[in-house]
């Protein structure tokens, strides 16, 4: 039943996309500034049916309707309601339907909200966006249909992977999808702009809001993902340079570059073609990332089941996207004249872009190199954290310094004498750095440089905040918050990396272990039955020997029944200054438990500063509204 409803809705959306493309191409020939009402209507139907199809699938999951293969494979009746719903996008087919939904929603919103812009440009955007929608709909129907039915209907489902049953992970995919698939709209707009000749400032204005929205959601999505990794994977780390994490970073670098150069295009009407390249590559990189992960070419923790036949389709589609956008770009490309001086804000924004491109290329090479090597020479290697750390971290130093100084320069040409201020702040940063070394301990030369640069950026941002309070220029606030957030992020990651304590040992119930300045008592073990898992909960008493502060931590081992899996839940006591992190795993056939104890300074500040970066974006979005 649901299967038929779902498939009919998807087919309806498919037909509507064709109709929209057809009507829009006819409307292109008609002069005037108003788009036909018929197109609005068709788009409204399209968005309605798309959202309905998604709700149909959600209902399938809520009711545990195992006549749908997708529900059977990814759900179970004993799962809590929240995770039944989250299961909808916790699998390949369902997430593809979500993907189509976001394509359609952005298509509709762009059409409705950008009514002040050129008609031809809007129509072309609509056409390109609907070609994308068609591409993914066909993929969904022929290869990854979430509404495929199964007969005889199974009584019980296979269940959702327990490590995915987590609130952070339930919202992580939708956030990332809004971020990554949202990029599609300015991919289409960029193509439309090239074809319709609607360029420059006006084009920048038409896509500005959409770029910001997708940037905010991408940033937030990546942060939520790493918070999840921190407390769920039980290693105490939060970024692993895993291929899928890398895949999510690539479009983020491109879109961050785009956010900045878009300012130049809007204010100074230059860098148009560079902006177009960034618009096109952001979405192309999103799709490339999806291809690499879903096809199984890259192996990682995100095992969304690899299926080469999926890969062939996405690759085919990706090739069309890249080759057609390249062709159109080259057809329309004209040489631009850049007339800005060295000491102008434009120059610094360009420098930001170079850095972003450098980071992007580094991560891309780290990701693709093993694939190339494997295909060309049959040699299998893996590129891990050392590569990324060595190549990227040193470059972060000048990057942060420029990030602080750049916004100080005015557009076109700047006369500000900022030299003494910079010198003064660098001296201040060096002094603070010396304090840290004096009180906490020494570190390498590179770490010194990173700390100094980060503190410099932080101090600089504080001065900016002071200035902002005086003259209240709203557009500045967003930038200050984001840049301050980045400075703090690097600073706290640095501190955390330098001064984390870690100890691995085995304990029996009743035993005590002293490590660093903590005494750890293993008090007892409790077993608790939950709806879909059984938990073995350890009770540990941690005494800080310096101040005799006592804390209780309760790490768990969870035994899930469907599918049968063990997960280890870390116990984390978060304080403003540090996190205490304890995981426990059972040692087979012995009374001992393997305990991993970690003390991670300023962990919560890493999250706060990362969230500040995203917050900057949201602030800018909200001010945009007020201006209107």
């Amino acid at each position: 039943m649901l299967s038929n409803i779902g498939i009919s809705l998807v087919v309806l959306v498919l037909i509507l996309s064709f109709l929209i493309i057809y009507t829009a191409s006819i409307d292109l020939k008609i002069s005037g500034q108003n788009i036909k009402g018929k197109i609005y209507k068709l788009s409204l139907y399209q968005i309605t049916f798309t959202i309905l199809s998604f709700f149909t699938l959600i209902i399938g999951f809520i009711n545990s309707d195992f006549s749908l293969i997708n529900v059977y494979e990814n759900s179970h009746t004993t799962k809590p309601l929240f995770y039944k719903i989250a299961g909808t996008w916790g699998n390949h087919e369902g997430s593809l339907l979500l993907w189509v939904n976001i394509l359609v929603i952005f298509s509709y919103l762009f059409l409705v909200f950008n009514y002040t812009h050129d008609k031809k440009f809007r129509l072309y955007t609509l056409i390109f966006q609907n070609i994308l929608i068609l591409g993914f709909l066909i993929f969904l129907l022929i290869n990854s249909n979430p509404f495929n039915s199964i007969y005889p209907i199974p009584v019980e489902g296979l269940g959702l992977n327990p490590i995915l049953q987590d609130p952070a992970l339930a919202i992580h995919p939708p956030l990332l999808y809004v971020g990554f698939v949202g990029c599609s709209i300015y991919f289409s707009a960029a193509m439309a702009s090239l074809l319709s000749g609607y360029d420059g400032k006006l084009f920048a204005r038409s896509i500005k809001t959409w770029v910001k929205i997708s940037w905010c959601f991408q940033t937030l999505g990546i942060i939520v993902g790493s918070i999840w990794a921190y407390y769920e994977l039980g290693w105490g780390g939060f970024w692993f340079w895993d291929p899928v994490e890398n895949a999510s970073l690539l479009p983020w670098f491109a879109i961050t570059a785009l956010m900045h150069s878009l300012l130049v295009l809007e204010k100074r009407n230059t860098l148009y073609f560079w902006v177009i390249i960034l618009c096109l590559s952001t979405f192309i990189l999103s799709v490339t990332g999806t291809f690499l992960v879903r096809s199984g070419i890259l192996n990682s923790v995100h095992t969304f089941a690899s299926d080469p036949s999926r890969g062939i389709y996405i690759l085919f589609f990706l090739s069309i996207m890249i080759l057609s956008s390249l062709t159109i770009f080259f057809l329309k490309y004209k040489k631009e004249n850049y007339n800005f001086t060295l000491k102008s804000r434009e120059t610094f924004i360009l420098v930001n872009n170079w850095f972003m491109v450098f980071f992007l290329v580094t991560v891309l090479i780290g990701m693709l190199y093993p694939i190339f090597l494997d295909v060309l020479t049959n040699v299998k290697i893996s590129v891990g954290p050392p590569f990324f750390n060595i190549v990227i971290i040193p470059l972060v130093v000048p990057f942060m310094v420029l990030m602080a100084i750049g916004p100080k320069f005015g557009w076109v040409k700047s006369k500000d004498k900022i030299f003494y201020k910079v010198l003064f702040l660098i001296l201040g940063a060096i002094v603070i750095n010396l304090f840290i070394i004096y009180f906490f301990g020494t570190y390498s030369l590179l770490s010194n440089l990173i700390f100094i640069a980060a503190i410099f950026l932080i101090l600089h941002s504080f001065l900016d905040i002071k200035k902002f309070i005086k003259n209240k220029r709203n557009t500045e606030l967003a930038r200050i918050i984001s840049h301050l957030g980045f400075g703090l992020l690097v600073f706290f990651i640095g501190i955390n990396h330098q001064f984390s304590l870690e100890e691995d040992f085995n304990l029996k119930v009743g035993e005590t272990k002293k490590t660093y300045n903590y005494k750890i008592n293993f008090n007892n073990i409790k077993i608790k039955e939950n709806k879909n898992y059984k938990a073995v909960i350890g009770n540990f008493k941690l005494t800080n020997l310096n101040n005799n502060l006592v804390q209780y931590l309760n790490p768990e081992i969870r035994i899930y029944s469907n599918p049968e899996t063990l997960t280890y839940e870390a116990a984390i006591k978060t304080k403003i200054t540090s996190d205490l992190y304890l995981t426990m795993s059972n040692v087979s056939r012995s009374d001992y438990y393997n305990i991993k104890f970690q003390n991670k300074p300023f962990m919560v500040w890493i999250w706060i500063s990362a969230l500040m970066i995203a917050l900057g974006g949201f602030i800018q979005l909200s001010f945009k509204k007020n201006e209107n």
């Binding site: 291809f291 690499l292 096809s295 199984g296 070419i297 192996n299 690899s306 080469p308 890969g311 062939i312 690759l315 990706l318 090739s319 890249i322 080759l323 390249l326 062709t327 080259f330 057809l331 693709l368 694939i371 190339f372 494997d374 295909v375 060309l376 299998k380 290697i381 893996s382 691995d504 085995n506 795993s585 040692v587 087979s588 056939r589 393997n594």
Partner: protein
């Protein structure tokens, strides 16, 4: 469109990358190392974990009728689970030699791991950066490879050894 060298280079680069992706798809057995069964292990040279002067290579394995090469680390929880089976094998069955390859681990941690749980290995090799393990087609630990005196891989166990696999090893080596 005017044709220029830049454009040609960019297009060919893009097409090259796409072709590589396409070829990569065909290699979907990327990390499926089952195909290693029946093939010969590659040459290697492995240093003893506590003794810089002591080495072992594929030549030494030819002397044993069967050799079980086990990849382990002190930080690996499932390695503790399978350890008992390894001890069992080493105590009772003389015709099989066990070589431990200590994967991405610290020397002291590895030694205390073996002190605590017992040492089933006839030789413990050091592979601090994991490169030698890659040579054997290892991508995660624990993993174990059973080779005969002709250096052919007879059995490959991904993940901790369990009762069934333990009995299987006994059947093969009998």
């Amino acid at each position: 469109m005017k044709i220029s060298i830049t454009k040609i280079i960019i297009f060919s680069a893009v097409i090259f990358v796409l072709i590589i992706f396409w070829q990569g798809l065909k290699k979907d057995k990327n990390y499926d190392t089952k195909s290693l069964i029946g093939s010969k292990i590659s040459n290697f040279n492995l240093m003893e974990i506590n003794n810089v002067d002591q080495y072992i290579s594929e030549e030494d394995l030819k002397k044993n009728k069967y050799t079980l090469i086990n990849f382990f680390a002190s930080w690996c929880a499932p390695c503790r689970i399978e350890h008992e089976y390894l001890l069992n094998l080493s105590n009772k069955y003389q015709q099989i030699k066990i070589i431990g390859i200590n994967f991405k681990d610290k020397k002291n941690n590895a030694n205390s791991f073996l002190k605590e749980l017992g040492n089933p290995y006839d030789f413990v090799g050091k592979d601090a950066d994991g490169k030698i393990s890659i040579l054997f087609g290892i991508y995660g630990i624990p993993e174990s490879i059973l080779v005969n005196d002709e250096l052919t891989v007879i059995k490959k166990i991904v993940g901790p050894i369990n009762q069934i696999q333990f009995e299987d090893i006994l059947k093969i080596t009998k």
